[in-house]
């Protein structure tokens, strides 16, 4: 099953400038695995060194944050639209 995924601006450089992709999978983790399988250079920007999705990467199924669903195990249907939306955070001194 393929699902439509919207790619945010700063990652399009890694997806041949495509704004949306049809990716294979029935859960968010499968879809993200398909994404990073096709575009390997994306991986380090989406995941930290421990293989965890970076906090500033927000994934929505339609309008629902996967943090409010079943995280990366959230299942998806062909009619869903997945969006990856940035939070932008930073600061000055380290904690």
């Amino acid at each position: 099953m393929t699902v439509k995924v919207l790619i945010p601006g700063p990652l399009r450089r890694y997806t041949a400038n495509l704004e949306s992709l049809e990716l294979e999978g029935s859960s968010i983790s499968e879809i993200l695995a398909d994404l990073t399988g096709r575009y390997g250079d994306l991986k380090k920007h989406l995941y930290n060194e421990d293989g965890k999705l970076r906090n500033f990467v927000n994934v929505y199924v339609n309008d629902e944050d996967i943090r409010d669903l079943n995280q990366q195990e959230t299942s998806v249907q062909a009619s869903d639209v997945i969006s990856i939306v940035p939070s932008i955070a930073g600061g000055s001194s380290c904690a």
Binding site: G9, P10, S87, G91, S92, A95
Partner: protein
């Protein structure tokens, strides 16, 4: 990479940093990606520092908005909609470092998106001092980004 911006755009970033002091200010840089890795800033888009809500997005590390900022996904999307309505794109972001040098912190680096310009203005005792710009390289390290003064349009 290099970034072109005007004197009044720089002034807008300085002003925002001074208004927000002693808290960090933040905003989006709207403009165009040009050939040869250049960017042109067309509009600065001030965003309210939403650090207080950062827990919802898993970003809260116990620091306050004097040391941290967050542009929420909703604010990001609002800025993006505005940019698109003018035929522009988000090309980066800016924030201030109150009483701290204009050098990216480890927290900045750990939270940075590729491609974008990260402009930082240091604000000492309420007065904006130094403006710098940075972009991530392929190893997720910040490299200084040259910026040059463009003509006012």
């Amino acid at each position: 990479m290099s970034l072109g911006l005007t004197k009044s755009q720089m002034a807008a970033i300085y002003d925002h940093g001074e208004r927000a002091y002693p808290h960090e200010c933040c905003g989006l840089l709207l403009g165009r990606f040009e050939p040869e890795d250049r960017k042109t800033l067309v509009e600065t888009w001030a965003v309210e520092n939403n650090w207080e809500g950062s827990g919802e997005f898993g970003l809260d590390d116990g620091q306050t908005s004097q040391r941290r900022f967050m542009i929420s996904p909703d604010d990001y999307r609002q800025g993006e909609r505005h940019a698109r309505s003018k035929g522009l794109e988000i090309i980066g972001t800016y924030h201030s470092h109150p009483d701290h040098p204009a050098i990216p912190s480890e927290f900045d680096r750990n939270n940075a998106w590729p491609v974008y310009s990260y402009m930082i203005v240091s604000v000492e005792q309420g007065k904006a001092k130094v403006l710098t710009s940075w972009t991530l390289d392929d190893d997720r390290q910040f490299q200084n980004e040259a910026f040059f003064q463009a003509k006012e349009v």
